[in-house]
Symmetry: D3
Subunit: 226 residues, 6 copies
């Protein structure tokens, strides 16, 4: 089995981190490659960023569909996910959707760690679209300053701890792809499940391939151009 | 005041119809132009169609922002509306959003006339996103056949009548832009309000300009690239 | 075109302010008159106040229906709005409904400026009735003391600022009619849209008249006495 | 203990039926009187009817508050119930609210028997306001014709049976006050609970008096005129 | 009429308190007995506690069904209530369901007094199941420490007062059965309705018996083993 | 890795079918055993059936926790799932929850194939509890007669086809565990994803083990007895 993880942004470093984490998780049971969306911006924050990921994502899916068994879209805002599910006959799994739905099975409410409050409205719309608004404890903004750094684990842990203690959160979801190496340590410190989206999406993607399942093509995701 | 109506698809004929209807509605009190999104497909049905409207819509907004006071996106599925609100400092009004919100002020429940059932899931997500799901009586599919034609008024009227009689609908929303000329006649026959989206969007757009209102740029629609 | 704005309370001063603001907004493009509901109390806060506005509102609508093209009910709690929509064949627009629905088009969430917390429960029911509860950021109570004064702009601005910064609000709705002159200055200071209900209701009312639209009379608002 | 049942309409015959049913139910354990709202219309269907019940309901509550321990508003659309709860320090129980909330304890979903479809939109708003929309199986319209007659039990039973068999209803709520004598026979035939609103409201009203409970006066129902 | 109150836990002292309160409330108009669920744990907090109440509750209902007219399950988390409604042909009323539904008739929002935050998630699910989430102001945790004591009235009153002042609560629901003697004093101090669940359940249970109503056996609560 | 699938009912035949399907799916990559809940009834339909599965499920979890890495509860009504998540420190996955959440990722709406309408109310509560009510197209009752047989594939296919064509369903969920062998053939005929719950639960369970994730023990599922 071969899974392609698509990093919707153009940050090559992040692609490498995601690929390494994913291969660690896969343990050689299936092949995993991670590809950068070179024509996209380096970060995905705004609607414009989401729009700019589109041409590259579409191109990658179209070119790679026949070489892989399933695809993971490795950005927690699930950019263009509906489009990619429509374009592709094989499973396409969003990091946001997979992690939020698995989070809702592990505890009463989850909090999503965010890099800034700019992304909260759109993330809330996503949670609502997935039917999980009553499972949302809070958005835990790790840092509002410009110099925020996803590598700054102390800040992440502080924000998560506050969510657990004050917002009644029981599960932490990392609101950015490619943090798989951090999740483990955070979980040890916080004593609650800490979910990395790419891991969650791999669980679903690999499972769907094994089960012979894919996106329904009967109506919403039916492609008229194929 | 100058309003630019953007037809997200590339159907020049529809652009002309929309422009004529809009100018009839404007009665010379403000200028209205209608522009075709030339790089887009001729119809907007699938997520891929929506994606293909994006580059052209973005380009038009960016080029025309300084020449017009407000913009109307003339497709009832509000393609890329969040993006365009973010990109533009002036009011951008979607035909879907405007017509559904006005419809909810005129009666208990509305039905949306649809050309086929392919578009229902995405339209339902839109209604839900706008908070209006409890005001939705039904989707009235005018025709499922390939040969459907928005000019076929008898079919539209039949579908609308069924919605009023059987689905408890009180207001009819035309689920496609550029039908302003039909709304009047349908209303006479059906004795309930029949809403053309472009007309509704013009009401809001012109009103916002006069009131000095536009999209809030404080968080969700804040553009980081400007 | 002639629009009648009905001030549901008996405060003549407020009527004059509303009329002046409305005429400024209309810029002579249509006629606007504002009438006081003389048999009502001076403020509308309680359910009893709402009840006491009823006989006068009904009388005004019945007497004036033939002389005007549309009616605006200029109190943000939309007192007796369902009744007036039923009684009248011409458009009747509530200041609350119009401002909340337009607010939801301009940003992710809105806050409503309130004079006291007594009115919050009923306002929440209104927001819920209009399907907009997920667009509500907060009720921003400008002042709980007895000496509250809608002219006290500093207090309004402070309450609005807190809503934007702490409650994630993106749009401010003035929860009282007749503040049109304040909205502009607040908007300049706050850098988010500040909505005056009467302005919003005029946008809708004028638009409906131009489009030949009015309340559906097919079921919910069908009058059996006409 | 003395309970006053207020018939919001002016139909003396209905008042007598309600009083007789209520006294049969009370079995002399407490006193029950039923009073007619003489200035109201004979039926309560439209928003105008509801408005016309207001002055009389208010007058009755104000005059009788000191002589009775609790009040039942005997019309299933709960006309002016919020107002009466605000005006009165003693318990005021609506026939609609009491019957719907009790119905939701007795089965998965209930259907409401209606005399015509004109009242469905407003009844739906009521069910929604009471938080019970997910417990609503259907509105069972007993008869749409003009000659409908609540005495026509066969028609009621037919409509209820259809609701149970086709709409998955498990409990029947009679959508009109004063049918207490019919509920028993319907229940025998249908083998599901059939709820008479006045009976349900008496259960709540008598219970509240015994428990020393009444409407909270802290905010929503606080009267500023007392 | 004979009502059996079942204390789902094995705390004999609580059973005695509940029985005494209930008989005080009944004033001899009907018989009330209270029985202890001897095989259950002394407190009901966890899902395991709820499970351990099950065999005893089932046995009591099966043995006592023929001797009593209705049953009250005297624990505010309504343990196994659906099961007991299914098993029994006579009315079975949960203290949680009855108190929350009556609370929603007496004010805009209620707060539930809780002994610890461990029980909040499950209580929230209950409120949601009963359709009352929009009537929930807050969970007011009286004490998180191990030494919490329901007899510690000062703590209860403090928690309730905070809920009224800060969470916009208008009605207080005691989240534990057998506090009937406290409710009265709290109500005097707080000036809002304070609801004891057993009292509320008795109101409903006695009323259902008098009205000849019981659980619908048509589908959800149909017992296949009888 | 070792997964234990627990068949909550006492039907040994079904246990064998489930085990065979599961091992086929596992392909030897991990060990799967399936155990029968011997003290339970042969079918799980009523609340009483669910209660009777409890002691055995609890005993199995307690005895087997140390020998397995994760547990699957193989009944589509997720009997006692909250309890088992609380009791066990290792992942416990319900067949209902896993299949419904995965279904919601594969299409707009799903239908659940049911053996009779008796189980619909409780299944609806489950869907609502999981936040997926807006993804539910319909319950497709395959057969209401007594002689229903899950082996009767023609009936299943007919019911599913009707759901796709008439209820706008896009994904089929088999509402009973142990049908893994049928899903494949149904999918071929229906051309939409057909989900077997056990397969879905295995996907999640195996994934959680690999990712080092399990139920959050911070509040809702915290066991006080361990």
């Amino acid at each position: 089995m071969k899974i392609l993880i698509i990093n919707p942004n153009s940050d090559e470093e992040m692609t490498k981190v995601i690929e390494r984490n994913a291969r660690n998780f896969a343990k050689g049971e299936y092949e995993v490659d991670c590809i950068t969306n070179e024509t996209a911006p380096a970060f995905v924050t705004t609607y414009n960023d989401i729009a700019e990921t589109m041409p590259g994502l579409k191109k990658i899916i179209e070119e790679k569909e026949k070489y892989y068994d399933a695809f993971v879209i490795a950005c927690h805002s699930d950019p263009n996910l509906d489009l990619l599910k429509e374009l592709c006959d094989k499973p396409v799994v969003g990091v946001g959707e997979a992690s939020l739905k698995i989070a809702s099975m592990l505890g009463h409410k989850f909090s999503i760690i965010m890099a800034s409050d700019k992304g909260i409205p759109n993330k809330e719309l996503l949670v609502r679209k997935y039917g999980l608004i009553s499972s949302l404890a809070s958005f835990a903004v790790a840092n509002n300053g410009e110099g925020f750094n996803w590598q700054d684990q102390d800040n992440l842990i502080l924000a998560a701890k506050k969510a657990i203690d004050e917002d009644m959160s029981e599960v932490i979801v990392l609101g950015c792809a490619g943090m798989g190496h951090v999740a483990g340590r955070m979980q040890e410190i916080l004593h609650v499940p800490v979910l990395d989206g790419v891991t969650c999406a791999l669980i679903i993607a690999v499972g769907l391939v094994k089960a012979g399942l894919s996106t329904s093509k009967v109506r919403r995701f039916k492609s008229l151009s194929k």
